[in-house]
């Protein structure tokens, strides 16, 4: 029986997007255990190409991936070893798609996975993995472990084994258009509200525009100033832009929960909206996995190359700063450190862009000891922040982040992902920390040179 899909959110809570359920329903559907198992095993091997296959075949059990993972490093619990998350699916690969698959099946060479094991693995694949990719970076065999976790989530979804809250918000996103209740109607209302608050005319549902702006529900519901900030940047640059109530939600809980069909539905909304208004650019907001979903998987969902360019707002800002069109005052003389959102920087390739912007703002930039590609994950991505069962280990991982920030001695922390912001907010509340993450977009807008 599906869990409560109409979970409400409490906007007053600092950073929690979803209510803690009284009863957890971490299993979906009516399937028997053998059916669940069969679905999981078969659906994992289904998508395999040779890149995933060579990675599945290459692990030498060196254990280095654990040393890169914030969940292992902060708790010392070896079960969080990244490649260990894939264990049941290694068996699936070897039995179904590997080069010796025939013999594995014939001689039953790998012990059969049980449905109970899959239930055990749910926590490893969802609660303790933000798909941050730090493990992929350390692996001496070059295995993209984070990518394999995404594959595994497809199997878990088909088996009906997604954690309660994540499934709930994903279902909401698929049926209502937003995981957090930011339906098109609510979105339109908030656009109007922000327009009034900031005294600007925010373009919505224009028939034609060069730029389609998008937002994440986290921003829409919790940090709505982002809507206005994005619009202000467009106005400043004199670009023809629009938001669209047919395609505005940049988060993709299909991707996060592991439902490939929902992932496609969610991406296509944005893509079709951009095509409809004949946009040349689709700009993704300050969100991490939104970038992974649309920039690096959008065309895959669409089935052919996209007829427009996709950019993250941070790289777009950097571009405009570099070409001189976006003029910043440059007198923000604070010591600042930057948190690299995993999906934007390490996984996404927007590495120097934020530095360009921060330098143009005139800050005293103090890089963390681990910065850019090797920066530590905030611990809330990949859907983890929605899963209350994971709160304790998320907080342990957050201690790593706080130490990192404190070691720089910077007075301000900036980032360019609203889920990271929300995770930092929650961490700040839990630990009574004196810092949280500021939005780079909002900082830019506050420091624009008058036109």
């Amino acid at each position: 029986m599906s869990g409560d899909t109409q979970s409400t959110i409490d906007l007053k809570l600092p950073g929690l997007s979803v209510d803690k359920p009284d009863v957890r329903y971490d299993q979906q559907g009516d399937m028997t255990d053998p059916e669940r198992l069969s679905q999981a095993m078969r659906n994992f091997a289904k998508d395999f190409g040779y890149v995933a296959a060579v990675h599945m075949d290459s692990c030498v059990h060196c254990g280095m991936c654990a040393e890169a993972c914030h969940f292992y490093v902060s708790t010392g619990d070896a079960k969080y070893t990244p490649i260990h998350k894939i264990e049941p699916f290694k068996q699936a690969y070897k039995r179904e798609a590997g080069p010796f698959a025939f013999f594995y099946r014939l001689f039953n060479l790998k012990p059969a996975v049980t449905a109970d094991e899959l239930r055990q693995w749910q926590e490893l694949l969802y609660d303790s993995c933000t798909v941050c990719g730090r493990c992929s970076l350390i692996c001496p065999m070059g295995i993209d472990i984070a990518g394999l976790v995404s594959h595994a989530r497809h199997a878990m979804f088909k088996a009906g084994l997604v954690p309660h809250e994540l499934h709930a918000v994903a279902q909401r996103a698929e049926t209502e258009g937003s995981p957090l209740g930011a339906t098109p109607k609510v979105f339109a209302e908030r656009v109007e509200w922000m327009g009034d608050e900031h005294d600007i005319d925010i373009a919505l549902d224009k028939e034609q525009a060069d730029v389609l702006l998008t937002m994440s529900s986290i921003e829409i519901m919790k940090y709505p100033n982002a809507i206005a900030a994005a619009a202000k940047v467009m106005e400043y640059l004199g670009l023809s832009y629009t938001f669209s109530t047919e395609g505005y939600e940049a988060t993709n809980f299909g991707l996060l929960s592991g439902n490939a069909d929902w992932q496609r539905d969610m991406s296509l909304k944005l893509i079709n909206a951009a095509i409809k208004c004949k946009a040349k650019y689709l700009i993704l907001p300050e969100c991490g996995h939104a970038y992974s979903a649309l920039r690096w998987a959008g065309a895959t969902m669409y089935g052919k190359p996209l007829p427009f360019k996709v950019r993250h707002i941070s790289e777009f800002l950097a571009e405009q700063v570099s070409n001189g069109k976006l003029k910043l005052k440059g007198d923000l003389h604070k010591s600042v450190t930057f948190h690299d959102p995993c999906q934007v920087t390490r996984r996404g390739g927007v590495i120097e862009g934020p530095r360009t912007v921060l330098k143009a703002l005139g800050v005293d930039l103090r890089e963390m000891k681990e910065n850019r590609g090797t920066n530590w994950c905030c611990g809330g991505g990949g859907g983890v922040v929605t899963i209350h069962r994971a709160d304790q280990i998320r907080y342990k991982a957050f201690e790593l982040k706080m130490r990192q920030v404190e070691d720089t001695g910077a007075e301000m922390l900036v980032t360019t992902c609203s889920n990271c912001r929300q995770t930092f907010d929650d961490g700040q509340a839990h630990f009574n920390w004196d810092k949280t993450a500021q939005s780079m977009l909002e900082l830019v807008v506050e420091n624009l040179v008058e036109a």
Binding site: R42, N43, A45, K46, D47, F48, E96, A97, G98, P99, F100, A101, F102, K158
Partner: protein
């Protein structure tokens, strides 16, 4: 036909000085690494003994073993053995021939049962008709002669292990004496294998002298006296430092060969061959194959003819080589493609089914 005179009486009768005899015994004792004083002990023991009767049977052999014994550089020492023993039957050396020779052998068998020693060279064909002497098959002669013998000494690799006739394809069904004893074709008697192709002369004589003085010496797992066959050529080879330093001759005429470097890469079987060549050497200590620039063939080892090329180093095989592996590679690729295609179809079915 020998009378019953002791070895000492026989030697004196033939004018061989006691000093010469002592020297012979000392050389033999030192060749077997017996302690000092053993030479004298051997001399005293032998002198008092009756000259033991020896029947030398030659089967499928090349006569090289006899040649080795009789063609030594300093014949006096080795030839002395013929004064110590009474060699009553030897087809190459004896004066008699034909039926007289056969009669001499029969007399020893009848008159000295349990006392005479049979020395055998050459392997025995067990298929009928390949080798007969005086109308009798070699197998029958062997059986009949060994039946009354005190002990059997196999001289040379052919009688010890089968040798040349035994090598692939062995058309005559040749067998060694120990194989014949194991299969019950010949009565079992104390057996000493003095292998080598041919054996070193002093090894032959040393074994006989040891047997006469002390009985059967300590033997290895294939019946060879450990005194002469207890160590490998490799472990006593004078070129060993070059092996250890990694200096190898690569061809028979290169700088390495001319500098006397190790012959491992030219197929030397020294490491797996047990014999005394590296210490005792040949032609009264003149040289041995490796010293002359050719790798050891392993001629004192069983089946050495059938262990692949003499020039294939021990670290290689005589397997199909590159062509075989090429075929294997093609097979591997084909099966791999097949496996991938099966997987892809499997995946497609899964995709369509869901």
């Amino acid at each position: 036909m020998a009378k019953s005179e002791t070895v000492g009486e026989h030697l004196r009768r033939h004018g061989i000085s006691r000093r010469a005899f002592l020297k012979f015994c000392a050389v033999t004792a030192s060749a077997m690494a017996l302690p000092p004083g053993a030479g004298k002990a051997i001399a005293e023991t032998l002198a008092k003994q009756q000259r033991p009767n020896v029947i030398w049977l030659s089967f499928q052999e090349c006569t090289g073993c006899t040649e080795s014994l009789t063609r030594s550089y300093a014949p006096t020492i080795e030839k002395l053995i013929f004064d110590v023993i009474s060699l009553d039957y030897h087809e190459t050396l004896m004066a008699a021939s034909g039926e007289a020779a056969e009669a001499a052998r029969e007399a020893i068998i009848k008159d000295y049962p349990g006392k005479y020693v049979v020395m055998i060279d050459g392997s025995v064909p067990v298929e009928g008709g390949y080798a007969t002497i005086g109308g009798k098959s070699m197998l029958d002669i062997c059986k009949h002669t060994v039946a009354n013998a005190a002990a059997v000494v196999c001289v040379g690799t052919c009688s010890s292990f089968g040798g040349i006739p035994y090598a692939n394809p062995n058309p005559t069904g040749a067998k060694s004496i120990s194989m014949l004893m194991d299969e019950g074709l010949v009565p079992r008697k104390p057996l000493i294998n003095v292998s080598g192709c041919p054996p070193i002369p002093v090894v032959i004589t040393g074994v006989v002298v040891h047997y006469l003085s002390y009985g059967v010496p300590e033997l290895d797992h294939v019946g060879r006296p450990k005194a002469f066959f207890g160590q490998t050529i490799h472990d006593r080879c004078y070129r060993r430092p070059f092996y250890d330093q990694g200096k190898f001759a690569k061809t028979f005429d290169d700088e390495g060969a001319r500098n006397g470097w190790c012959l491992f890469e030219l197929g030397c079987k020294g490491p797996t061959t047990y014999n005394s060549c590296a210490t005792t050497k040949w032609n009264d200590g003149t040289s041995f194959p490796i010293e002359s620039g050719h790798g050891c063939l392993g001629c004192s080892e069983p089946n050495f003819w059938d262990k692949g090329s003499f020039y294939a180093p021990l670290a290689t095989s005589e397997s199909g080589g590159v062509y075989g592996l090429g075929a294997a590679a093609a097979a591997g690729v084909a099966v791999g493609v097949g496996a991938a295609i099966v997987s892809r179809n499997h995946q497609k079915k899964l995709q369509e089914g869901k």
